[in-house]
């Protein structure tokens, strides 16, 4: 078990939770998308900026964590 393994688990866990979030919101809020579509905002236009922001935030945190791990781990 090393830092790289934990980072990989974290990455795939994030992908999984994102997929579950997108699916559940698309199902449970499906009628509310019509509100935004009537204002000219498609599903893609709503999802894309949020997903990009969320994923970039996660990547930044992950890279910061990876660099900290790299600095603190004993060199072999």
């Amino acid at each position: 078990m090393n830092g790289n393994f934990i980072l990989q688990v974290l990455f795939w866990f994030k992908i999984l939770t994102l997929a579950i979030t997108i699916y559940s919101i698309n199902v449970y809020k499906r009628n509310e998308f019509y509100y935004y579509k009537n204002l000219g905002l498609s599903k893609r236009m709503l999802w894309l900026p949020i997903l990009i922001f969320d994923f970039l935030l996660f990547l930044t945190a992950l890279i910061t964590l990876a660099s900290n791990l790299h600095e603190t781990l004993p060199r072999s």
Partner: protein, 224 residues
């Protein structure tokens, strides 16, 4: 200026069941077009196809004679009132009117009892009151066509009458397509009525056509 919306060549299938196959529908500025049909004949599916919410390969939708290919619909051209409540419950009434660029005082001219709700959240209103706000924002906001799926359901008779007045006022500037099972109201306000039966649309000339095509029986017609 008159605008036209035409729909035909639609084929909709679910597994092996063909729901829509020989549909023709036309609406224009100044006219209200009604769609009647028994449950499960595809009225809502037809509206969703026109609005781009249900994607199929075989369809021909034309605005002013120009075919529409993508599923994006410019809200300045077409707006859609779905069958179920669609406004996020946490939004305030004033925010909803601002989003749709509508004047709240114009709304309270038709429904004076709503004036106290300006600062309320939508979730604090009853089901019928929510529906009235939804119908109004779709009908009154700027667009060339609007489609209303079951606008009269869950609305009390007094307000149904007011909504019919709004439809008659708004159709001066736009084309309106309506479907509802409360057929008396559809017959009352529509300039043209299509009956959807076994996947085909039939232009209805009089109430006897509704009997011939199996939508009404004679006893219902006598009662009208």
């Amino acid at each position: 200026m008159k605008h036209y919306l035409e729909v035909d060549s639609i084929i909709l299938e679910f597994d092996t069941k063909r729901v829509l196959q020989d549909v023709y529908l036309k609406n224009e500025t100044g006219k209200t077009t009604g769609i009647l049909g028994r449950n499960g004949t595809g009225k809502t599916c037809l509206m969703k196809i026109i609005y781009g919410g249900l994607k199929i390969n075989n369809k021909s939708i034309r605005f002013d004679g120009k075919p529409v290919i993508s599923s994006y619909r410019n809200p300045k051209f077409l707006k859609y009132l779905p069958q179920n409540n669609f406004i996020p419950q946490n939004l305030k009434i004033k925010r909803i009117f601002r989003d749709f660029n509508l004047n709240f005082s114009g709304f309270t001219k038709y429904f004076p009892e709503f004036s106290k709700y300006f600062d309320f959240k939508l979730k604090n209103l009853s089901g019928g009151e929510k529906r009235i706000i939804e119908i109004y924002i779709i009908l009154a906001s700027e667009t060339k066509f609007c489609m209303l799926d079951e606008p009269f359901s869950h609305i009390m008779p007094l307000h149904v009458s007011t909504i019919k007045n709004i439809i008659n006022d708004e159709k001066k500037n736009k084309g309106i397509i309506i479907t509802d099972q409360l057929y008396e109201h559809i017959i009352d306000i529509c300039d043209e009525i299509y009956l959807l039966s076994f996947g085909k649309t039939y232009l209805i000339k009089d109430k006897n056509d509704l009997i011939k095509l199996g939508y009404l029986n004679k006893s219902l017609l006598r009662a009208m």
